[in-house]
Symmetry: D3
Subunit: 136 residues, 6 copies
């Protein structure tokens, strides 16, 4: 049986939800006040989970300091105090919903984490709305 | 790989735990102070999880506003500021333990959520006691 | 300059808000769903603050274990898993609003805490509604 | 002795901190990443405190539903899912620091709350940075 | 479909992370300030999850009071206000990382919980670092 | 009217509560399990409050980054991942109760914060036990 380890980080960002192929009316109907063209923002809480076997020499599945460094290098430096739509290339043509942010974060981290470790990302947009990728 | 989305809501309710087929003494032994015939109550926190694929046009697995509306219509209007035993028909012959409340909530929501979306309910009775249905 | 020490405890209770001298219609207008005659309930969080000088021998303003015992004896045993209106004599003729509960708790504790210690009570009815007595 | 009552609400907004009379370099030195010209954002938590005497007929210092309505009408409708700098006239010539947001919120609410009630505003910009106005 | 029930408890303990087969320099490189020979400590939050079928007579998967008693007897009495390295025999030759503490807690509880109930342990060392065993 | 600004930081430390002039029996009676000679520990949460007037050019009472730096330099570097009794000179002859830690933190910070700013320290030893200095 394996052990899961979790590291929680946070970032603050602005975003706007809309589909550029839709009319303003359609965007308002679907995205409501999240479609404010002047942006709004959130304190995002990010939890990264790795699953593996504890190293017998250290008792660690993964060094949490190293995981924190990777999250900072891959995610926080790019996302924190940014406008996700304007400042983060991955969202140039991708709506920055919590779902899509979690998928982008997963892909950024996956390439830095060895494949024998299972990876999951949980992203809190607010205390009441959050997402998990991959699910389950 | 799919994405899970979560919506958190809350309601405040009174209840009493007991088995009407048992003696007072048996009920006290099993349910202790939760068997107060004059009721007691809780601030219940409810988290609803759906798993699916993000819609390519919206980036949403599910519109959280719509999910919030369904939870309000199916659960909050019936449970909030109510006596679960007296005011909610589902608990007329069912002990309103956190386990049974979660199952009832699941069944109320399941019929409103399309079957291609996986559904799970987490219910916090207190910060220290909570349940999940279905498990795992 | 003095030091304040705080102890947090909790209890779960049922209650109903209404004025017996008013009509049902008046009670519904003022108290809304809090006026459910079948009761509803809350997880109350209680924070008790004492202000004094640390004892030079112990470094304590007050022994938190002793304060916890006093809160249990005076408040939790009487309020926890109770119906405040029916089971607690202090609310026989007093509406159990958060304001009035805080005043009753203060009076119960005041007689057990030496007068040279300043006493304040904060009571959370929900995460979003709370009260403090005395104010300020 | 009076009672304090508290109501907690929240809003999500974008903002940018800068002084238009300063050079970019000066703004970067003082405001750092908060000076991102493309904005960033926060989940603001707002706690409003009123101090008064409980009404003997209701046991309320103030009806929390009414206070919640006033906060929504005066603050949330104007601030929630907005860009504070662009969408809120009060910040046209005022830097939207947490300090200044709290003062603006206080002034908006003060005119709606009777003068015999003491008013205070606490604003959480993040879990780690928050302000209170008036202080103490 | 089964139901999961969760019980949250806590304990405060001191510990030191190091490998006695390594030099001081190696230990400092891997464990950093967690290798302080004079110890440091944490408020550990422990969540225990059981999965089973609700008993038709009680509506309980498990009596939370009984689970709380077992956690106290097996874990809290041994770990709370202790030095994990010096006072807890299980860590005499096992580095008390969060991963290893979770495994030890699981093994202590597993022998007290009937095998037809699935068991999982989540341990929070800090709000930002936590582990789960078994994973997933 | 002035504005209060708050900054929250944390540190993890080991300590032991006892009076070296007392017998073991007296120490056990007063300090109970906090008197474990092998130490125990906590995740301390520290909130620092300053009161002043917002600078008209910045809208800041105080730069939170600067306050965070001062807390790190004066408190975290000395206290985090340390044994308060053994590693921190201020507690060589002073029992490291929450009350005394708060007073020591206040004195360390006071000399770095200009006198025209009011200073207060709140220290959480656990979620249920916390202190404030100066009180009120």
């Amino acid at each position: 049986m394996k052990v899961a380890v979790f590291r929680k980080e946070h970032f603050n960002a602005a975003h706007r939800l809309y589909n550029p192929n839709w009319s303003d009316k359609e965007n308002d109907q679907v995205f409501g006040k999240c479609n404010n063209p002047n942006w709004h923002g959130h304190n995002y809480e990010l939890v990264v989970r790795l699953i593996g076997n504890p190293d017998p020499d250290t008792g660690y599945v993964y060094d949490m300091k190293k995981l924190s460094d990777i999250i900072r290098e891959e995610v926080l430096i790019r996302f924190d105090h940014k406008n996700l739509n304007l400042d983060v290339p991955e969202f140039k043509n991708l709506n920055p919903t919590a779902e899509n942010i979690a998928i982008v974060v997963y892909n950024l981290l996956r390439k830095r984490i060895n494949d024998d470790l299972d990876l999951k990302v949980t992203l809190y947009e607010t205390e009441r709305n959050f997402v998990e990728y991959p699910a389950g």
